[in-house]
């Protein structure tokens, strides 16, 4: 199966040939995936802050920059440049990361970025996509390249077995009466398995786009259940979207269970992504336990 990264590269290379507005800025990582002879492909070396500054300048000059690197080097290291050079300058860009929270934990904490979406969440005006399947990457990216806004596209090595339509808010994957589970991106398959394993009578919503947050979609789903109980399963820092669930349901008594990469301590183990999923209760067993305890009664 094509990976999300491959889908990203192929889409950009198709579009850069067709649209003279599009530019690519990299800091070594993935740079050889793009046509080096194209003057709109700029590799700045291992210089991430400059990568974002250069992207800002390209945007100021009228181009549509795609900025790409491994998640911590794209988001955390140049965070102030994202805040000021992109946001405060009021220019647009498409940021595309690989690595996700811990796609390859053998590389240790330096290559893990569970806080990336939370960081973007502190900044106004960003659209955030977390696709759950490679086939969702191309339509999300094609739309982003046409627009002038600020977009973060978070790619992962982990994917669901099937793609869903993107760009129209949350997708209802399954209907139930006991409550709602919102599954973000690659979490959907294991959420469905966990729900099945617990015979939980819940609605399952799927989100490949988390910002803007589809408040209407969530509200309608909750209205069609017997309990305003919402479990959010995100593949990044737990609780990242909890404030938006609360805002959405502020007029009614409700309960929230936030599930994601735990915040309480830095996990210094290496191992595999599956090891880390288990440690964060993001595997089917952990999610099943959360479903069972939260939707009890």
């Amino acid at each position: 199966m094509t990976t999300m990264r491959q889908a990203f590269v192929e889409t950009v290379n198709d579009e850069i040939a067709a649209d003279p507005r599009i530019a690519v800025v990299t800091a070594v990582i993935s740079s050889n995936e793009f046509p080096q002879e194209n003057e709109r492909v700029v590799d700045v070396g291992i210089r991430e802050q400059t990568m974002v500054g250069v992207a800002s300048g390209l945007a100021l000059a009228g181009l549509r920059p795609v900025v790409h690197s491994y998640a911590p080097f794209l988001v955390e290291r140049p965070y102030e440049q994202i805040k000021l050079d992109i946001g405060h300058q009021d220019v647009g860009a498409v940021f595309v990361s690989i690595g996700a929270s811990y796609d390859d934990p053998a590389w240790g904490r330096t290559h893990q970025s569970p806080g990336d979406v939370a960081l973007f969440d502190t900044l106004p005006g960003w659209t955030v996509h977390v696709p759950g399947h490679p086939d969702e990457v191309t339509p999300l990216l094609q739309q982003a390249l046409k627009d002038d806004n600020r977009v973060y596209l978070r790619l992962s090595l982990h994917a669901n077995t099937q793609a869903y339509p993107v760009g129209e808010g949350f997708t209802t994957v399954r209907h139930g009466k006991r409550g709602v589970v919102l599954a973000v991106g690659p979490m959907l398959d294991r959420v469905l398995k966990a729900v099945d394993s617990e015979n939980a009578d819940v609605t399952v919503l799927y989100a490949a786009t988390v910002r803007p947050f589809d408040a209407n979609g969530l509200r309608k789903a909750v209205q069609n259940t017997d309990h305003a109980d919402v479990m959010v399963v995100e593949p990044y820092l737990e609780g990242t979207s909890s404030h938006l669930v609360s805002e959405t349901l502020q007029q009614i008594p409700h309960r929230i269970r936030s599930t994601g990469v735990k915040r309480h301590a830095e996990l210094r183990n290496y191992g595999t992504a599956e090891d880390h999923d288990a440690a964060h209760d993001l595997d089917v067993v952990g999610l099943g336990s959360a479903v069972r305890s939260f939707f009890r009664g």
Binding site: A23, V25, E39, R40, V42, V44, G45, R47, Q49, T50, V52, G53, V54, A55, S56, G57, L58, L60, A61, G62, L63, E80, Q81, L84, D85, H88, Q89, D90
Partner: protein
């Protein structure tokens, strides 16, 4: 020095270069402030923008009447310039180390567009402490960004100084360089209009006046 004194010193240090730039060098006016072919001046050293605002006002980019009310609730003029609020300001600045990388991208963008416009960026010697500048210095030379001029106001603000001189930091990466008296308008003009076929750094020395 207090914070306010530092900002006043920053403004006093840049005023001569800013004036020569806008009076004799830059191909930009209020009427052409949105022209893609204009020269672009990026004030990276956003501290102490009083001199910048004064020059913009004198050249008609902003109304002189708003100067006295600066930093008030309703004023578009703050202690650091905001490009969304200030006509003629190419970037919002204040956090150091951002302008030079942005300028590299702007100059590359002009080159891609086939524009005859040039990019000028002003940084301080203290600001050069930020590593992002050195990344940009290196990449500008590697990418042969010849339509870029960096002006370094050297008013000896850097905490630990620059042994061997600032110009050498640029020259070793392949920039053309010049060192001038930042108070000498004729020298500033001559330096800023000198031909160059690679990125160009002009170090403008400002003697401490306190």
């Amino acid at each position: 020095m207090t914070g306010d004194e530092k900002h006043e010193w920053a403004a006093a240090s840049t005023i001569d270069v800013l004036w020569v730039l806008y009076d004799k060098v830059l191909n930009v006016t209020p009427a052409t402030a949105d022209d893609p072919d204009r020269d672009r001046f990026l004030l990276s050293k956003g501290h102490g923008p009083m001199a910048y605002y004064a020059v913009l006002a004198e050249k008609g980019f902003i109304d002189e009447s708003i100067l006295d009310d600066w930093t008030s609730w309703d004023s578009p003029l703050g202690q650091h310039p905001d490009r969304v609020l200030v006509r003629g300001a190419e970037i919002s600045s204040g956090s150091l180390g951002h302008g030079l990388p942005i300028a590299v991208g702007t100059a590359i963008g002009q080159r891609i567009a086939g524009s005859r416009g040039r990019t000028f960026v002003l940084v301080g010697d203290g600001e050069l402490d930020e590593g992002s500048n050195h990344e940009a210095i290196a990449v500008a030379a590697r990418l042969k960004v010849a339509n870029l001029t960096a002006i370094v106001i050297d008013n000896e603000s850097a905490m630990y100084g620059w042994p061997g001189g600032i110009a050498r930091r640029f020259a070793v990466e392949g920039w053309q360089t010049a060192e001038i008296d930042g108070r000498d308008h004729e020298a500033v003009f001559t330096a800023l209009t000198a031909p160059h076929d690679r990125p160009y750094a002009v170090v403008a020395k400002i003697e401490k006046s306190y």
